[in-house]
């Protein structure tokens, strides 16, 4: 199984730069999620890897082969399209057999391999059906089978679950993951759904406006986002702007409009620099004002509940902590606060992460 390597990959459409100097290397057998909002360039990147777009600049390498000039049919990628792109005039069996026919595999072997993979994806016996006779989930699995049966070096998935309903999407997520692990195939998974990316990927590449923002394991992207944009795109967060007052190892002391706050931060954030503190709603605790306990490494603020929304398993609060700052806090149902309650807002320094400020 090959690794994928992108070097300075750039694509311009007229004056618009869709993908900007993207450099990325995937390890063999890993599932990388290419995550970003609509229009960020992730599909364009995928298409350049598959060979449907020519890069304006940069190279694409599959394994140690430079395929930048190679036509799509010579690249040995298996692709699953967002709309599945199943051939409507061919049966399921013929669809899956297509790639094998292109490879010149013998008829008897083709039939055997197709039957095997149909069983594997749970579509055994449906070989004679036409795509229009299948459900969405079945079409999805057919598309997967078609891409996998040709034994490609690389698997490319373009928002494969976008057209499925929520429940099916969850099922298919794990299914795709287990299939990928079983085939141990290097996979690029393009999605705009960040929870999907976090659940499935070995590593997540966050792309925004064609520029790579971060490329890390899901947990790191979530807990240690590199920019404020990444922080707010992945999950929910509160962003508090300020200035770095002091550094000590991992620790950061930030001077903000609501007071001095302690958090963690990356090495390259030095004293005096503008910064933004990111603290996620689930990491903030609300307590009644009197129950203030002194302790190191905990930030405490006073606040007033301005909004309170019941969401079943928890409450979603907006807490006014002064200086026009409203913090979003999510709390369990057992510690309920009412509108206009005065509360203590507390979070550990270790849950707060500082990001470079300025252009968030």
């Amino acid at each position: 199984m090959a690794e994928i390597s992108l070097r300075g990959l750039t694509k311009r459409f007229g004056n618009v730069v869709a993908v900007n100097e993207l450099t990325l290397t995937f390890a063999s057998g890993e599932l990388v999620a290419l995550l970003g909002p609509s229009g960020c360039g992730k599909t364009t990147t995928l298409r350049m890897i598959a060979g449907f777009e020519t890069p304006s600049h940069g190279r694409v390498l599959l394994g140690d082969r430079d395929v930048t000039e190679a036509p799509p049919e010579k690249r040995s990628c298996g692709m699953v399209f967002q709309n599945y792109a199943l051939f409507p005039h061919l049966t399921v069996h013929q669809n899956i057999a297509f790639g094998l026919e292109m490879q010149g595999v013998r008829r008897a072997d083709i039939d055997r391999m197709v039957a095997e993979i149909l069983d594997k994806v749970g579509l055994g016996g449906l070989g004679k059906r036409y795509p229009r006779q299948l459900s969405g989930g079945q079409q999805q699995r057919t598309a997967l089978a078609r891409a996998l049966v040709i034994n490609p070096s690389v698997l490319l998935l373009d928002e494969p679950l976008a057209n499925l309903d929520a429940k099916l999407r969850e099922e298919m997520r794990f299914y795709i993951r287990s299939l990928q692990r079983e085939f141990h195939i290097t996979t690029l998974y393009v999605t705009h759904d960040q929870s999907e990316a976090l659940v499935l990927a070995d590593r997540v590449a966050v792309l925004m406006d064609g520029v790579l923002q971060q490329f890390d394991a899901p947990e790191i992207v979530y807990r240690r986002p590199r920019t404020a944009r990444v922080a707010s795109f992945i999950g929910l967060t509160n962003l508090i702007p300020g200035r770095v007052a002091a550094r000590a190892g991992d620790d950061v002391v930030l001077e903000t409009s609501i007071g001095r706050l302690r958090a963690r931060g990356p090495e390259d954030l030095g004293g005096g620099m503008e910064a933004v503190l990111s603290i996620r709603p689930e990491n903030i605790e609300l307590g009644r004002r009197e129950a203030a306990v002194a302790g190191d490494g905990v930030n405490r603020l006073r606040g007033i509940i301005r909004e309170r929304i019941f969401l079943g398993s928890f409450f979603d609060y907006r807490v006014d902590v002064g200086a026009g700052t409203l913090l979003r806090v999510q709390g369990g149902v057992h510690a309920v606060h009412q509108m206009a309650d005065e509360v203590t807002v507390a979070f550990d320094a270790s849950s707060g992460w500082t990001l470079p400020g300025g252009r968030g």
Binding site: G51, E53, T54, P55, T68, E69, A70, P71, P72
Partner: protein, 294 residues
């Protein structure tokens, strides 16, 4: 809708351009050599001199155009053609609207049937349909037989302008229907229902709601029918006898009977230009009224 992709990698630098261009070259070649060139040549011929020994002499002259412009007879013919075109267009609008409205509002399953009814006449050909009218409109034709049978006088329906108009309207209605139906289909039926529920009668609803919103189709249809009607040769010939002389008839006569190629060409081109000018003015006029309504 799939946009035209810039094209996959892997084609040679000049290859991608030439490979695809190969697809259009034959048709392009055909058009340039056998359509554009002949028309340009026609322009050229129109300024050559007519002759008795040969179709034309390669001597530059503007006399052909001069003759046409100064000859009141040709202007009569032009006027007659334009008038026929306008009346045909007007009548076909009136007759096509019900068909178009009905077609546009027919449920999907039945639409095919009515499309067949509308389009089949087009494929039968002008000649055959005109022949059918000859059988019907003659003095001894079916219609006059029926009139005679109920004791009415015979009506002269052929070899005159009436016959020509009937033939023209008949042949070109399908074009008007297709143009209008496309537009009407785009009008949300809800709008009409609302108007009705607010108390507007059927006519009022039509004039205030349906008609204005169908103007794009109307504009396209009227232009199409007008241009087709004034260019018709077969219908005025067969149904008009020698009494109705239109521009195409005069042109054909000039070219094939009088062998005056330069004169015929000049006349044809002049008429073509007049037509285009009229259409252009019409489009400008309509342009203000056919702003698309979303």
């Amino acid at each position: 809708m799939p946009a035209a992709a810039p094209g996959p990698a892997g084609a040679s630098p000049g290859g991608r351009i030439s490979g695809q261009a190969l697809l259009i070259l034959p048709a392009l070649g055909l058009m340039l050599v056998f359509f554009v060139a002949p028309y340009l040549n026609l322009l050229l011929i129109s300024v050559f001199t007519p002759s008795h020994q040969a179709p034309y002499l390669r001597v530059f002259t503007l006399a052909n155009y001069g003759h046409i412009v100064h000859d009141p007879f040709t202007w009569q013919v032009v006027w007659r053609s334009l008038w026929l075109g306008v009346v045909t267009t007007g009548l076909s609008v009136v007759l096509a609207y019900p068909l178009a409205y009905h077609l546009a509002r027919t449920p999907r399953r039945m639409k095919g049937l009515f499309m067949i009814l509308v389009i089949s006449p087009l494929l039968v050909g002008v000649l055959i349909r005109t022949y059918g009218w000859m059988i019907l409109l003659q003095d001894t034709g079916l219609i006059n037989q029926l009139l005679h049978a109920v004791g009415m006088r015979r009506a002269p329906l052929m070899y005159n302008q009436t016959g020509v108009l009937i033939g023209l309207v008949h042949v070109f209605i399908p074009f008007m229907v297709l143009s209008l139906a496309g537009s009407i289909q785009g009008i949300d039926p809800e709008l009409e229902l609302e108007a009705r529920s607010l108390g507007a009668g059927a006519w009022r609803t039509f004039w205030r709601v349906t008609f204005p919103l169908s103007l794009p189709g109307l504009a396209a249809g009227t232009i199409l029918v007008f241009v087709l009607a004034i260019s018709s040769y077969v219908i005025p010939s067969l149904l008009g006898g020698f009494t109705v002389i239109t521009v195409p008839i005069l042109v054909v006569r000039t070219i094939t009977e009088l062998f005056n190629w330069p004169g015929g060409s000049a006349f044809a081109l002049l008429f073509f230009v007049i037509t285009m000018l009229l259409v252009w003015c019409y489009i400008r006029l309509i342009g203000r009224v056919t702003r698309p309504v979303t």
